[in-house]
Symmetry: C2
Subunit: 305 residues, 2 copies
């Protein structure tokens, strides 16, 4: 045969454990049928919760959102909520990881006779735990991110509800390549009114005159975003939703992004131009400190063991 060469696109798997089709396996062995409509039509929803020092952070909230989104897409899990939680826990236990990025997925699956009718499909549940992952690396977190504001529009709510966590990322990918061309480290997309929405896997916040603002429309309602608003309340910092134009962000004193993959992370440059004094700001620092303190709080965490 003409294609003798064995390609290895999966070189460099992280350690980790997955659950798929009733079995646990090493993450490197976890594979899904190429006919699953979760792949061929991106007909799927997911959620990501993290484990820090062997405790899940806000697991109930992630489960609430995941189950809501499964229902919104007219998918059905083959397991109940308790079994989902137990399966996530078992992935982490088997992985031996202390700090983990734990994903749960529900795909449309396939239908008998490969019917295109989504009502006939047998939906699939997948879970996996891999090492805790950061949107920003260590250097970026200490210096603050250089953020590019793309003119690519985030897929609008009239097409796909952004509060249903989904894998439609080609808009983010295009924006990410643009950011790299501008020597920026990551990107946020705008809506049709040129207001900022969100970036690949994170929400954005601006701090102006002591007040914290995050876009209220056209974005995922991130669990870390909601947590941040609660931390603001606890610290007596005024905070709320509001439209964020590029100009308004550029004039802010501080900015930061929020994500399960890294928590609260400072933004210090917009397309290379320093924001405020160009250093991570004091409000960002206070919120970041309290965010990580909460990882020991039994009210917000669930032990793996």
């Amino acid at each position: 045969m003409r294609t003798e060469k064995k390609t290895e696109p999966d070189a460099g798997f992280p350690p980790g454990v997955a659950f798929i089709d009733g079995d646990f396996c090493d993450i490197s062995e976890a594979r899904i049928s190429i006919l699953d409509f979760g792949f061929l039509h991106s007909d799927a929803t997911y959620d990501v919760v993290h484990v820090w020092r062997r405790r899940f952070f806000r697991l109930d909230r992630h489960l609430d959102r995941f189950l809501d989104n499964v229902a919104k897409l007219q998918l059905a899990l083959p397991f109940d909520r308790r079994t989902v939680a137990q399966t996530l826990t078992e992935c982490v236990r088997r992985s031996g990881l202390d700090d983990a990025y734990v994903e749960m997925i529900c795909t449309r699956g396939t239908a008998p006779g490969y019917s295109r009718d989504p009502r006939q499909a047998n939906n699939r549940f997948i879970a996996f735990a891999i090492p805790f992952s950061w949107v920003a690396n260590e250097e970026q977190r200490s210096q603050g991110l250089n953020l590019f504001i793309s003119t690519v529009n985030r897929i609008p709510s009239r097409s796909v509800d952004p509060t249903i966590k989904n894998y439609h990322w080609l808009d983010f990918i295009k924006g990410t390549f643009e950011a790299y061309e501008h020597d920026a480290e990551t990107v946020v997309l705008v809506d049709e009114d040129a207001n900022i929405t969100e970036g690949p896997g994170f929400n954005l916040f601006a701090v102006s005159g002591g007040r914290v603002t995050t876009p209220g429309q056209g974005t995922i309602k991130g669990i870390t975003r909601r947590t941040t608003l609660e931390l603001c309340a606890e610290l007596g910092i005024e905070a709320g939703e509001g439209a964020l134009s590029a100009d308004r962000l550029g004039a802010a004193d501080e900015a930061f992004i929020t994500s399960t993959a890294g928590g609260i992370m400072a933004v210090t440059r917009i397309d290379g131009t320093p924001l405020g004094d160009g250093k991570p700001g004091p409000v960002t620092a206070r919120l970041t400190d309290l965010y990580w303190q909460k990882h020991d709080d039994p009210a917000w965490t669930t032990p793996v063991d």
Copy 2:
């Protein structure tokens, strides 16, 4: 373990052969890593060509478009064009199918250390051949389809270029469920100006006063769509691109959809209301006949053997 029950979401695989990671295998065994960004970010493009009586139909055009789209997404195939064609051919040969639906896919793949940087990823090529598949079943093809016009917006060009064939189908899935709720058989989505764009896997045409019109914006430039415009020219039927509102479609004499998965298929009802006399029209019939005649034409086909 608590999840003893073995789930079988893949029950009912069609026959077929796939090529993945350097090997040919039965379609039921073809699986992709759950960490491939083609799955987790739907960061992929694809194309589908069909084989009819052991001849590919317009293979060169599908290869042209696929290779263009791979480049537009800044992906790179691990094989050249000739090897892609040979691999598709080998999938069909090994499947033994006379009439086949043949898909080629390029995904972002994964990057060493599971980096999120798409520039570092090792892209993956996948191909498969399964039995020829029809957007409309036999009864629907003979009676004509009942089409629902959804208010869901097709993902706009400002977010994702619709001419890059992609797996972002949650808008289509939502529209499909709406169509079923209205007892229709399939759906077309609109743009923000309420003009019709396309349906899940097909383009739409209307025939009014002998003139054939298809939406020019916000849709994939289907190979069957382009073929249909050429067939119109050959038959001396006036045809071109133009905006198609729900009202304009409802007032048409005839309508039809075009897809690699079935060719030219009549639409005879819009949300249950008959179009014209409610029967497949004469222009649709002439085009359909010529479309299938062309499947013996060596200029438009490539033998599998």
